[in-house]
């Protein structure tokens, strides 16, 4: 069976910087693939080509074995790709429901946005994801980091993503909230989603991911099943940019 996502030989440069250089990576349904690497390695840029935020210079993307042309966030959305960005893509001046439905508002028979229904839907999904979430009426600027993150996650989950991209979802969170995100990832994986997860926490990645891929200077160092490597192997891949497995 064809993988859920296959990115083949993708490259992108910004000015003189080759941010992603001929990278290939795949993701299966029900699988969590972790992306590791130093700051500036090209992880965010790689997944932004999948989420439609950037247009790749060269390369191909296949979804369920079919070639996909993703040139805008809308295209990605049409392929059921949802993204939680590293810098939370929320409009601070709007409330949780408006953010959750941004770009996909529920409208009534007259074509007007139906705020009450969106609020009701938001209450429902928040009750599942983060039962402590109460501030539905306030602009999200009034929320804590964890609450803001749950809005971003709710947004991805609500619209039945098949492919979920999480760029450092726990970077701004406390211990308790981080555990909640980890739990959610397990649940979504069980439901058969494919998840790309970016994080700096190698130990966490070993627990959550099925495979980990390491990038350095825009290039793919290697992707390995977590059972086949140790944490030290991964650290050396990140630092040295060489795959000890491949060498052996």
């Amino acid at each position: 069976m064809a993988p859920l996502v296959e990115m083949k030989n993708v490259s992108i440069a910004f000015g003189g910087v080759q941010a992603v250089d001929n990278v290939s990576i795949s993701l299966n349904a029900g699988e969590v693939v972790g992306l590791l690497g130093h700051n500036g390695a090209g992880k965010s840029t790689l997944i932004k080509m999948l989420s439609g935020a950037y247009k790749m210079d060269s390369g191909e993307i296949f979804i369920n074995g079919e070639k996909a042309s993703i040139t805008s966030p809308r295209d990605a959305r049409d392929h059921n790709i949802e993204t939680i960005y590293q810098t939370l893509a929320l409009a601070d001046n709007l409330d949780a429901a408006s953010n959750l439905f941004l770009g996909r508002e529920i409208t009534n028979a007259f074509g007007f946005v139906d705020d009450d229904r969106m609020e009701a839907e938001t209450r429902k999904i928040m009750a599942r994801l983060n039962p402590n979430f109460k501030k539905l009426k306030e602009p999200v600027s009034a929320l804590s980091g964890g609450q803001r993150q749950s809005v971003a996650i709710a947004r991805a989950v609500y619209f039945n993503a098949k492919i979920l991209i999480m760029d450092e979802p726990t970077a701004a969170l406390g211990v308790h909230e981080t555990a909640m995100v980890a739990e959610l990832i397990q649940e979504l994986k069980k439901q058969g989603l494919g998840i790309f997860l970016i994080s700096h926490d190698t130990r966490e990645m070993m627990e959550l991911c099925d495979r980990v891929a390491v990038m350095k200077n825009g290039q793919m160092v290697g992707a390995e099943r977590v059972e086949d490597v140790t944490e030290d192997d991964i650290l050396s891949m990140i630092i040295l940019g060489k795959n000890p497995k491949a060498a052996a």
């Binding site: 409009a91 001046n93 770009g103 009450d116």
Partner: protein
């Protein structure tokens, strides 16, 4: 973070009357400021400021700036600015004047019924095209709005000049002039009908919204708060219509043309002006713009883009096209404002709309629109325009010199923004 905890206990304590009404405190502040200005001028003019006649004049003088200010809210909310609105108004006005006085009478016949209507539609289209062009340069060519509209400020005033070869064009068509204010009013009975419809609509809106909220199981205000709110709105509408319908038409005006007021002879004919059509137009614009802001995707995207342009883009919103739409809307409103302004003056003059860009921006900003984007209300901008106009007219009535008038208006603008910033800091909003 810290003010969150400080706010938390508030829900337990008994909520004040105003809190129960859930009225925007900034709105209350502005209404308070407006009442204060009106009362002070009324004392200084020994009661001449708050006469039906002056309130009527104040209202019709505010309309053209207020119409444009509603559009400026969207422009500023998306972190842009439009310095060209006064000049675009002048071009639209020049086009409409030439169209009704020179071009159309030659093409159709003098006095043809369609002349004013073709003129108005034409003027709105010109406004829309200029706005769309501005929006395209800002959105698609990425030229900053400040520069595009600074250029437009010089270009469009002078395009208007060339259209009329610098002449004053008039007198304008009689039907056209009914949109200006004093020459187009609804009279007593019709004004009351409109008022009563507005009252019913307000009450229905308030209670329908309550019904929908209850259906979804949300918390609603206590019933007495809802009833008080409805009562306040109804009283305000009644008061407004009451004042406008107690401004009677002077005898000499009736004597000139009694038939205009539905009388055969001037004797015993005592009509009142009532609601001006231009004010009705402003109310319609305000309602439409409020609906756009709060109830449509367009409005949602305008505020989202103002709050976080990147987030809007990543959510699949075409922010470039959005810019074109916002400026097109602004252009159409400039066309409408040109209709009202030139109809009020009964002629097109070259200096029409001079300095309006500053009045319009000031009205939006005094009305609580934040230049940092994402925040602003339509009613706020209209109230802002009314406060500005009251200051200006009031000082003129008191006999303040023109330079001092401008000085005060300028100082008030800066002070209003300062107070607004302090207010936002205290409530913790950005």
């Amino acid at each position: 973070m810290s003010d969150q905890t400080a706010h938390a206990p508030k829900t337990q304590t008994k909520r004040s009357f105003f809190q129960e009404l859930e009225l925007d405190t900034r709105l209350l502040g502005m209404i308070g400021a407006f009442i204060l200005v009106a009362l002070v001028f009324n004392i200084m003019t020994e009661g001449r400021f708050l006469t039906p006649r002056n309130i009527f004049n104040l209202t019709i003088q505010t309309v053209s700036v207020a119409i444009m200010a509603t559009g400026m809210v969207f422009v500023i909310v998306t972190r842009h600015i439009d310095l060209s609105v006064g000049a675009v108004l002048a071009t639209c006005s020049a086009f409409m004047a030439m169209s009704q006085v020179r071009w159309l009478p030659e093409m159709l016949e003098l006095g043809h019924w369609a002349i004013p209507w073709i003129t108005i539609v034409g003027g709105l289209i010109i406004g829309a095209l200029i706005g769309a062009f501005n929006g395209w340069m800002i959105g698609y060519l990425s030229i900053p709005a400040f520069i595009v509209t600074l250029g437009g400020f010089l270009v469009w005033r002078n395009v208007g000049w060339y259209m009329t070869e610098g002449q004053t064009i008039g007198p304008l068509n009689e039907t056209f002039k009914t949109f200006g204010g004093i020459s187009g009013t609804l009279g007593g009975p019709v004004s009351w009908v409109v008022g009563i419809i507005a009252m019913i609509a307000t009450v229905v809106l308030i209670f329908n919204s309550r019904r929908v909220k209850t259906k979804h199981g949300f918390n609603v205000k206590p019933m007495w708060a809802e009833v008080s709110l409805a009562a306040i709105c109804v009283a305000a509408i009644a008061g407004f219509i009451g004042i406008l319908t107690s401004y009677s038409v002077p005898e000499r005006v009736v004597a000139r043309d009694p038939s205009r007021f539905g009388c055969e002879v001037a004797e015993g004919c005592t009509p009142v002006y009532g609601l001006p059509i231009s004010v009705l137009l402003l109310i319609a614009v305000a309602a439409a713009m409020t609906i756009i802001a709060q109830k449509t995707r367009l409005g949602r995207y305008i505020f989202a883009t103002g709050g976080n342009p990147d987030a809007a883009e990543l959510s699949g919103i075409n922010t470039r096209m959005l810019t074109v739409k916002i400026f097109t809307l602004m252009g159409i409103l400039c066309g409408l404002a040109a209709l009202v302004a030139s109809a009020r003056l009964a002629n097109h003059t070259n200096d029409i709309g001079t300095l309006d860009e500053l009045r319009v921006i000031a009205a939006a900003v005094i009305g609580g629109t934040a230049l940092s984007g994402g925040l602003g209300t339509i009613y706020g901008a209209i109230l802002g325009a009314l406060i500005m106009q009251s200051l200006q007219s009031g000082m003129a009535m008191v006999g303040v010199d023109a330079p001092l008038q401008n000085l005060v208006v300028g100082a008030v603008l800066v002070l209003a923004v300062f107070i607004d910033i302090q207010y936002r800091k205290r409530v913790g909003a950005k």
